[in-house]
Amino acid sequence: MLRNRRNEAFFALVLVAPFVAIYGLVFVYPTIKLFMISFTDAPLIGDGNYVGLENYLRLPSDRRFGTALWNTAYFVLLTVIPGTLAAFAIALGVNRLAGRLQAAILALFFLPYILPVSVVYLLWDWTLNFQFGIAMYLFDMIGLARIPVFKSTAWFMPAVGVITIWWTAGFSILLFLAGLRAIPMEIYEAAALDNAGRWSTFRRITWPLMWPITALVLTIQLISQLKIFDQVYLFSTGGRPNDNVVMVYYVFQRAFQSDQGGRAAAVAVVLFVIVIVVSVLNFQLTRLSGGRGR
C-alpha cells in the first residue's frame, strides 16, 4: 500500500512537471523580474543600476503616463457598461427566436468575436475610410460632415470603443443566452397566470435572475478592457499615438521605442497592481452579494 502511494505521488509529479516547468519559466520568473527591474535603470535587454523608487516617483509628473491612465479609464467607461447592456439587449432578442433561425442570427452576432484584431482593424479602417469608406457615403447622404475618425483625438476613443463592443459583444451575448436558457419556463408561466405584464415580468423575474451573469460579464469586460492595447495601437498608426496612448501602449513605448526597460517595468507594475486590486475587490464584492442573495 505504501509503495502504491509513493508510486502515485511520483506519477503525479511526472504529470505536473511539464506545466510547472513552463509556469516557472514564462510566469513566475518574468513576474519576479518585472518587480526587480522596475527599481533599476535597465534598458530593454540587459541589466541596469539600482535607482530605488525613482521610476515610480517620476510617474505622477509624467504627462504621458497621466494621458495613458486617463485614456484607459475613459476606454473602460466607454465600453464596459454600454457593451454589457447592448449584449444583454441582443441576447433577449436572440432568445425569442427558435431553432435554425436562432442559430443563424447568433452566428452573425458572434462571428466578429472569433476574428483576429488585425482583421477587425482592416475591416473598420476600410468602412470608416475618410475618402472611400461606406460610412462616409452614409454621412454624405444624411448631410453630416465627414470625420477623419482615427486622426481626430476627440473621435478616436469613442470610435475604437464602439468597434471593440462590436468585436467582443458575441462573447457576452453567449453568456447572457446561457443564463436566459437556464431560467425555468415554469416561472414565466406562473407569472403569466398572475397576469403580470411584460415589463413587470422582466423587472421582477428576468433581471434579478440574470444579475449574477450580468456581474460576471461586467467583471470580465472590465478586466479585459484595462489591458487594452491591440486596437488602440493599430488604429493609431498614421494618426496621433501620443494622444491615444493607453497603459499597455505606454509600457510598449517606454520599453521598445525608448529602450527604457526599467521605466517600462514601473508602468507595468502599476497596471499589474490595478488589475489585481480590481480582481480581488470584485471577487469580494460578488462573494458578499452572493452571500446575501442566496
Partner: protein, 280 residues
Amino acid sequence: MTETTARRLNIIALITTVLTILCALIWAFPLYWAVVSSLKPEDEVVRPYIELWPETFTVSHYVFALTQTEIGRWYVNSIVTAAAVTVLTVSSSLFCGYAISQLNFPFRNVLWWLILASFMVPMQALIVNHFELVADLGLINTWSGIVLPQLIHPVIIIVYKQFFDGVPKDFREAAVMDSASEWRILTRVYIPMNWGVTTALSIVCFIWSWNSFLWPFLAVTKTNMMTITVGITQVNDAFGVYYARQLTAAVLAGLPVALAYLIFQRRVTEAITLSAGIKG
C-alpha cells in the same frame, strides 16, 4: 387575457423579432462588405457611391496575395505556432489538471492556489520580461519564441480539474483493483471519457493563439517570420494603398478561424461558456 392585448403582444413580438434580425444583418454588414470589396476590381472599390454587389467579379487580388506576397509563408507560421501552442498547452494542462484532481502528492494545494492566483495576473504587464527572456534564449524571430510565452492558460487546467472531479471515484478504484498502472488509468479511462472537452478546448486554444497579436508582434521583426495576424498589418508595401488587396489579406487571415467556428459552432460556444463560467 383579452383578445386585443393578446393581439398587441403578438405585434410587439413580431416587431422585436424583425428588429433582432435587422440588427444582426447590420451587425454582420462590415464582414460582408469586406468580402464583397475584395472581389471587386480596384477601380470599382473606390467608386464614389455604394455598390452592394460587384459589377465584375475578380479573384485577381487573391491570386496576387497568394503568389506575390508572403501570405503563404505567414499562413505556415500561424499554423505551426498555433498548433504547437494548442498541443503543448492542452496536454500539459490535461496532465496537471488530472494530477490535481485525482492524485495525492506533496504541495498539491499550493500548486492549485498558484494556478488560481495566476488567473488574475495581466500577461500584458509581462511583455518586457518575456522579451528579455526570449532574447536571452536567442529565440527572437523563431517559432519557439512566438510559442513560448503563449503556453500559460490557467483556465484550461481549471476546466480539466472540474471535469475530472466529476468522474465518480469508483472508476479509479475498479481500475486499481485490476492492478492497472497509473498511466493506463489515465489514458484508457480518464482521457477517453473527456474527449469532448479536449476537442472543445483545443479548438478555442487554437483560435486564441491564431488571433493573438501583441506577443507575436513583439517577438518577430523579420517579415518572413511573422504570423498572418501580425503580417497583414505590418507589411503595407506588399499591398500599397490598394484597398481591395488589403481587404483580401484580411479575409484570408480571418477565414480559417471563421470556418473553424462555423464548422465546430457547438464545441466553440461550449468551450467559451465553460472557460468564462470559471472566471467568475
